[in-house]
């Protein structure tokens, strides 16, 4: 209702520090585990598959500022689309998750991306929305790994997504980093949007320039900072 109309570009235009994050991805890639690791630093080997939607809040400090993240966890099975998609509206950040030991979950990320783009009403294109690709279960023995980090990198480059990372909810590897990165990406895009608002003439061309530059920068930083570490 009212809130929707305030949301411009499919993401919140106000400077509220409450950020809504949805985690999407195939069933069993570890969405719920990512969430519970992040929120409560707890890993349950025996967690349920999610029915319906769940969400939790957590405060996090990024760049010296407090943000409350509202993390939404969804049901992974394709069939539950009609239940899931209503919650996409008003999302600030979208995390696309797959598991590195499951090639098909990686292959389906595109589907999830498209579903999100369609239902969240992201209008400014992928580059302008903070997407984050997370390859979970990086703890699996390398012989069980089916998706390499290079593939992830390539895919993100092909799909114009600047942030990606491999995590392990089980070993608590890179999970907080993943969320932090996502928020940072959001901040950056937010700043770009602000700048554009300032420059009234011919915002379109500026959009393009500004964006390409940033995307490239970010790609460089995030790889070096987390993934290859």
């Amino acid at each position: 209702m009212g809130e929707d109309s305030e949301r411009v570009y499919g993401r919140s235009a106000n400077k509220n520090s409450l950020l809504k994050i949805v985690i999407l991805g195939d069933g069993g890639v570890g969405k719920s585990c990512l969430m519970s690791r992040f929120i409560s630093n707890h890993f349950d080997d025996h967690s349920f598959h999610t029915i319906g939607v769940e969400f939790m809040n957590k405060s996090i400090e990024v760049n010296g500022k407090q943000y409350t993240l509202q993390v939404w966890d969804t049901a992974g099975q394709e069939r539950f689309k009609s239940l899931r998609t209503p919650f996409y509206r008003g999302t600030d950040i979208c995390i696309l998750a797959y598991s590195v030991d499951d090639r098909s979950s990686f292959g389906n990320i595109k589907m999830w991306l498209n579903e999100f783009l369609h239902y969240a009403g992201v209008k400014n294109g992928i580059e302008r929305f903070p997407f984050m690709v997370v390859g979970n279960k990086s703890d699996v023995p390398s012989r069980e790994r089916e998706v390499s980090h290079d593939q992830l990198k390539q895919w993100c480059a092909d799909n114009k997504i600047a942030s990606y990372i491999e995590t392990s909810a089980k070993n608590d590897n890179n999970v907080v980093e993943a969320f932090t990165m996502a928020v940072q990406r959001w901040i950056e895009l937010e700043q770009i949007a602000e700048k554009e608002m300032g420059m009234l003439e011919n915002p379109d061309s500026i959009t393009l320039h500004g964006n390409h530059g940033t995307a490239a920068n970010i790609r460089a930083t995030c790889c070096s900072r987390f993934s290859e570490a």
Binding site: M1, D45, G52, Q77
Partner: protein, 964 residues
């Protein structure tokens, strides 16, 4: 009000009528062309174009030849009915065909309707009283009030209604025609809109309902319309007129056609913001069109009854068309000259009659809601006397006669409904509650039923196990391929890694195939593994490609197994070595589905292999323990393979077929048969599955499953030289002729992988679910899904089956109960439409039983769509309550079908909400709060209190309906 000329109820005063029609049509349509200038024809065209989809308005619905009878016209005229979504709301328009066809064609005007005379403009002394222009032609209307140009005549007839101005939508269904009457917030009825037969009315209503979202809704909601087009779940057996009205409309046209009757829907506007906006624009309007202003305030003040106030709250005075197309509202001299007194007296009359109509409509609406609710509960109230203890063992025994039959089912249901079942006898009682056992059946009959059921279960299982074998095989290939690809890729990047990669592969494959290897070593006539692989690759139309990945395996097998396999393996390799790397890619794409992580599977399999070995030993020891049943069974299935479906004879000829692999898309299961051939004893004894029935009912199926489980790895039975295990592989294969279509295999593979993922994480914190019991759960799931492949596995099924397995312990029985449970539950899944119905029911219930809470839900981000109840309904509260409580809740749900309500889940949900209503209200929870709240409260509810409250709520609704 802004509708066409035809609305006023009193026709006795032509002048006033005239004034009205003048006023309204000048508001609406008249002005649109006045403003547009002289080109009347072109504005008409503009108008017609405005009926199409355009930038300002979305066309939601359009239908030709909908008949409306405007005032002054003898009989209904056909016209174009359309529904437009505009910035300010929905607009319903009806335009006479004459206008649609354009001014030029108005020569064809039905003279009898208009009694007009046409005069050429040059000669015409009149001006059109509406548009104040000298028209091209002029007609006089029947009740001659002044000249109108032809266009204006039709404009005046056309309807244009802003939906927010409408309070009630009356639907009159008669055999001949469906009529829809819109009643404005001022009580004015618009002329009936007659829809042609054939579901058009329904489709209009459903579009209207959709169009109202998100700011408004039909009340009661038009049932299950959102599931339109879905076929599942129609037969839910709702008998209340309302839903049947709609459901039948969707699914069985005939039924809808028959269902005559009157229904009243209310249009509810939720948006406070909208309301204000509308009040605002109302003010604006009041300045512009004086005669209109007194009406609204008067209407609401003069009618003091509660109904009218509801009306004015629910359906705020609306802007109508003010924000819309007609941009100018011209002032007419005639209007000003109208006698104020006359206007006032008529108005008084109108107000009174409208108040009455409003009240009438409200009453009708209430009764519609009641009818609607009456479908939710049984009308007769079953007394709760002496049911405190529920169904105790003592009572149960006393109700059981000497032959083991329980006859008094009503009493059982009543006891269970009010008091639950004592835990010790749940296993006995549940099959009755779920309708698996018949009341009145004797112990013997039930035993027979169980046996038959178990046999059926095993047969089904052997069918899918066989397909699973193929799936596993494909998975291995795919995994091998993708790993090869990975290592290839990394090899390309860093050549140095090569060796280690190979090493990895090697390892991996050894793991996967060690079973095969053992088979090989155990079975001298060892052609087995390789041919099977060849065979299984046949399904792919590109044999070369598909075969490629097997190289790794073949390689490894070679290394591990004795030389026997080598001949084949090597030839294969020779053929394909060069092709494979390139083809891997294609293969990957083709078989993406199968590439799922098979990694966990080998492990799992290995466990069950160990199990089998153990079992096999057990069998050997207990050898004599096999009952007669067993032997019959094994003979049976054995022969099964032969005579029932396609025979061993058939599969045998195919066996030695390392030879020319037929290139089609079916999978031929030669694997088992090869195996059989290898063992050299085709006649050899029954499947392990066959062995099992002989054993004690409890233990049997479990072990059976494992042994059968073993068979998916086809080659595993390995160490056990006895023929039983080996032929196990045959029987499933041959039972379907050994040929499965590729689609079947793929679809099952997809389901299998999903099932395994979910089973692995189902109720792991509940001690019952050891790996062994999870395996049973998996088998139940697979069997059910195999039987319902078109439905497929859906998340949540595991949860529903788990408590049944916990209770019944035995697979086949749990499966039988699960199938019964799913009979109801399947409609809740996304493929059915019961969920929407539940949400709608919840809305009505809470609206009636706790309007304070309802208002809060409305006001705080409107979560009256009740999505947060989704999991409750899907899993029958399984995740909301602890296991013990789930048992009790389920019993309540099952028993209530016979005692109090088909939809007990609704009342449980309501009870949960009501339990926390004060918390919800005090914290003014919004949608996210409530989701969070209930997710956190899961498994912490006071179940006994909730169940008891749910029963009370049922009683409350029953009483409410009775009192009508």
């Amino acid at each position: 009000m802004s509708a066409g000329t035809t609305t006023p109820p009193s026709v006795r005063r032509p002048i006033l009528n005239f004034g009205r029609s003048l006023n309204t049509s000048s508001d609406d349509t008249g002005s649109s062309y006045t403003g547009a200038g002289n080109a009347v024809g072109s504005t008409a065209k503009d108008y017609v174009e405005s009926l199409h989809q355009n930038s300002r308005a979305t066309l939601l619905y359009g239908k030709n030849n909908v008949r409306v009878q405007p005032k002054d016209v003898a009989e209904p005229m056909p016209g174009y009915l359309s529904l437009h979504q505009t910035a300010a709301g929905l607009i319903i328009k009806w335009t006479p065909n004459q206008l649609m066809n354009g001014y030029a064609e108005s020569e064809g005007v039905d003279k009898s309707l208009l009694r007009c005379h046409l005069v050429h403009a040059s000669a015409c002394p009149h001006k059109c009283v509406l548009c104040s222009m000298a028209p091209v032609c002029t007609v006089f209307r029947r009740r001659c009030l002044g000249p109108l140009c032809i266009d204006c005549v039709y404009w005046a007839m056309s309807l244009q209604v802003c939906v927010w101005e409408v309070v009630y939508v009356h639907v009159h269904r008669a055999r001949g025609a469906d009529a829809l009457i819109l009643v404005g917030q001022d009580g004015v009825q618009r002329p009936p809109i007659h829809f042609p037969k054939g579901g058009h009315l329904l489709s209009f209503l459903s579009n209207l309902e959709t169009g109202l979202l998100p700011h408004g809704q039909l009340d009661p909601p038009l049932w299950s319309q959102r599931g339109a087009g879905k076929v599942f779940g129609r037969g839910k057996g709702r008998r209340r007129p309302m839903p049947s009205l709609c459901e039948s409309g969707e699914t069985e046209e005939a039924e809808w056609e028959e269902a005559a009757g009157d229904y009243v829907f209310r249009i509810v506007n939720n948006a406070i913001a909208d309301r204000e906006a509308m009040r605002h624009s109302l003010l604006e309007r009041s300045v512009q069109s004086p005669p209109r202003t007194p009406r609204l305030p008067l209407a609401s003040t003069s009618t003091t009854s509660s109904d009218s106030s509801t009306m004015s709250v629910d359906c705020p005075p609306s802007a109508g068309l003010n924000g819309h197309p007609p941009p100018m509202i011209p002032h007419h001299p005639i209007e000003q000259s109208a006698s104020i007194e006359l206007v006032c007296s008529t108005m008084r009359r109108q107000i009174i009659s409208r108040a009455f109509y409003g009240w009438l409509a409200y009453c009708r609406h209430l009764s519609t809601v009641r009818t609607h609710l009456s479908g939710l509960v049984h009308l007769n109230i079953v007394p709760r006397d002496d049911t405190e203890g529920g169904l105790t063992e003592e009572l149960w025994r006393s109700m059981t006669d000497e032959r083991g039959a329980v006859a008094d089912k009503d009493e059982v249901y009543r006891l269970v409904y009010y008091g639950g079942v004592q835990h010790d006898i749940r296993r006995e009682v549940w099959p009755y509650l779920l309708g698996y056992y018949e009341f009145g059946s004797t112990t013997e009959e039930r035993a027979e039923q169980d046996t038959a059921n178990r046999r059926q279960y095993e047969t089904t299982m052997s069918d899918w196990l066989c397909v699973e074998a193929i799936v596993r095989q494909r998975d291995r290939e795919a995994t091998a391929a993708s790993i090869a690809r990975l290592s290839e890729a990394s090899g390309r990047l860093k050549p140095a890694d090569n060796t280690s990669c190979e090493h990895k592969d090697f390892h991996f494959n050894i793991q996967v195939f060690e079973d095969d290897c053992s088979v090989i070593s155990d079975n001298p006539p060892v052609v087995s593994p390789e041919p099977s692989e060849i065979e299984q690759k046949k399904p792919d139309t590109k044999p070369v490609l598909s075969r490629a990945p097997s190289i790794d395996e073949v390689d490894n097998i070679e290394m591990d197994s004795e030389d026997k396999g080598k001949v084949n393996g090597e030839t294969e390799m020779g053929d394909n070595r060069d092709v494979d790397l390139d083809s891997l890619k294609d293969l990957d794409e083709e078989e993406e589905v199968h590439i799922k992580s098979t990694v966990e599977n080998p492990d799992m399999r290995r466990e069950s292999i160990a199990e089998i070995k153990r079992l096999a030993e057990g069998i050997v020891q207990k050898g004599g323990g096999r009952g007669p049943l067993c032997s019959v069974d094994s003979a049976n299935i054995n022969l099964n393979g032969n005579d029932l479906r396609s025979s061993l004879d058939e599969s045998q000829p195919i066996m030695p077929q390392e030879i020319p692999p037929p290139q089609h898309t079916s999978v031929i299961i030669t694997n088992p048969s090869v195996d059989l051939a290898a063992s050299g004893s085709p006649a050899s004894g029954g499947t392990t599955a066959n062995v099992s029935p002989a054993r004690s009912p409890l233990g049997v199926v479990r072990e059976e499953s494992h042994s059968a489980g073993a068979s998916f790895d086809t080659l595993e039975p390995s160490n056990d030289p006895r023929p039983e295990n080996r032929s196990n592989c045959v029987s499933p294969a041959s039972s379907n002729g050994g040929v499965y279509s590729n689609e079947l295999v793929e679809s099952f593979a997809l389901n299998l992988h999903r099932i395994e993922k979910d089973v692995q994480r189902c109720d792991r914190n509940y001690p019952f679910f050891t790996d062994e019991n999870l395996d049973k759960l998996r088998n139940i799931m697979c069997t059910y899904v195999w039987e319902h492949l078109e439905m497929g596995y859906m998340q949540g099924m595991c949860d529903l089956a788990a408590p049944l397995l916990v209770m019944m312990r035995e697979e086949a029985a749990a499966h039988a109960l699960f199938a019964r449970l799913m009979h109801h539950a399947q409609h809740n899944f996304p493929s059915g439409q019961a969920m929407d119905a539940h949400f709608a029911d919840m809305r009505s219930l809470i609206q009636i039983l706790d309007c304070e809470l309802y208002e809060l839900m409305h006001a705080h981000g409107d979560y009256t769509h009740f999505y947060f109840c989704y999991r409750w309904f899907l899993l029958d509260f399984k995740r909301e309550l602890l296991y013990q409580d789930v048992f009790a809740a389920w019993e309540l749900i099952w028993a209530s079908r016979r005692v109090a309500s088909e939809h007990m889940v609704l009342f449980l949900a309501l009870a949960l909400l009501e339990t926390y209503r004060d918390v919800i209200l005090a914290n003014a929870m919004d949608f996210t709060d409530i989701i969070k709240f209930f997710n956190e409260m899961a498994e912490r509810h006071d179940a006994a209190a909730v169940l008891s409250l749910a029963r009370d709520l049922v009683l409350q609704v029953q009483t409410l309906i009775e009192n009508k």
